[in-house]
Amino acid sequence: MVKRHFDYEEKYRNLQGKFEELQELSRSLQFDLTDEFKLLEEKMKDIRVNKYQNLTAWEKILLSRHSERPTVRDYIEFIFDDWIEMHGDRCYGDDRAMIGGIASIKGIPVTVLGHQKGRGTNENLHTNFGMPHPEGYRKVERLILQAEKFNRPVMTLVDTPGAYPGVGAEERGQAGAIARVLMTLSSLKVPIIAVVTGEGGSGGALALAVSDRLLMLSNSVFSVASAEACASIIWKDAGRAEEMASALRLTAQDIKDLGIADEIVEEPTGGAHKDFENTAQNLQDRLDRNLQELLAIERHELLQQRYTRLRHIGRFQEN
């Protein structure tokens, strides 16, 4: 049976409960075990820290999907000043699973885009669990072209299980809408920084990840398809998702090792939601530094670098 929920914190809380009971009991029996308890407590904390430094790929997937994990809107509101959300694809609708607008970071105007998951069922029905329809990708295309017009850098925040697989999405051209964003971003004449904040799922995530710099939060993942889907398709056994998670090399560290991600932004022990402010502040600093670096690069050179970077992804042998 595949574990569907990241339950380490629950277990840890149970352990802590037992520990407190033990302390209580020892106090009532007037055993002086202060030093031992101190050691024990430190050891427990160490083990927890160590655990979070050594999560399995599957655990990272579960953590990246954690219901308390900060959403893209949380990050945007913390990191950027003067955020003004823009709506609509001018063609069919406004996709609430994909948000976009303009804002500034340390005084520099930028265009910001991101997948929006909800917190709780109601919000998630509103945002379709962060799974965009074609109108979401067309909104992105519209806003990035506007960013280019106004010479405004683009920052994207990636957090989606994937583009929505549904009848309406197919009717309105999900494939083409994603493809166009990929093509447009590849040659957009302004700097682009992307961050995977949570779940980077498939082509629907990739459409916001074509960039000059790709950052990943340390517990985020980025995968060609969900581990469940891969296990079910390749091994005909969705139950082997955990094993598949490792095979796919989808953790932030894997993606960096593959030469796709540039930087990992460390989350606090327990994950981003355990200390949102700190995480968001870290991310802001990284975004700011990367933006400064990219703005210092001559524009033609920047585009050349972006192309070279994309063009050389992949490994093969040639006879």
Binding site: P165, V167, A179, V210, A225, A247, G314
Partner: protein, 286 residues
Amino acid sequence: MLKNAFGKQKLIPVPGSREYMESEGRISAQEKCPSCSRRISELELKENHKVCPECQYHYSMTAWERIELIADDQSFQEFNSGLRSINLLDFPGYNEKLTGAISKTGLNEALITGQCTIGGYPAILGTMDSRFMMASMGSVVGEKVCRAIEKAADLKIPLILCAASGGARMQEGMLSLMQMAKTSAALDKFHEQGLLYISLLTNPTTGGVAASFASLADIILAEPGALIGFAGPRVIKQTISEILPEDFQKAEFMLKHGMVDKIVSRPVLKDMVERLLRLHLGGNNG
């Protein structure tokens, strides 16, 4: 749909098999059309471009059959045939899958690219072969697509890619997904030069191939009945637990919804491509 497309591997003769001997004319074979159940001989099928004469069902075509259909006789010069996939993630079972696909198809990968003439007009032509791991796109397919694009750009001649793919090659993980971005970036440069790219969508064109180079053409043609879409119909069925529309994700459905320029049946495909090339002569196109 998928079943129809891949259930016909009988048609692809593996040396020594009954099908092989049939195709060599040593057995007079009768194939039952998966759509209308009419019995058709191998020869009849071959002469009719692998289209059922009764119901126009388009049988799956191999990459070389597609080249034979479109390119002028003897004109096709393959390039980059030496590119081979490696198991870059040490993914369990990938080596075996590759070996199997190579021996089954006689191909090194799921895409053949080369230069040819079509009605006398020079062009770069790429064709995919769904027998090769569902023609999923890994590093090699992505690289060969890019090199074909760059060759067409260098020579300033039109590019024709015939897509057929189940999507990304999962065994290559994110390196496979990134091929979507890589091919799309190469096409942006191509379009910048004002050159012509014709995409032909054949059965099936889904996932990462549909959501990258296959959809980024000036002119998008599709074969009748081809499955075309982003998500596979099974995934959609699971997600929405509803009965899907009758012609859902078929070429005809995509035409109705504005996603393709034309549905072109196989017997007139070469003629259509020729006419398109002729109308795009001059300018930057040869």
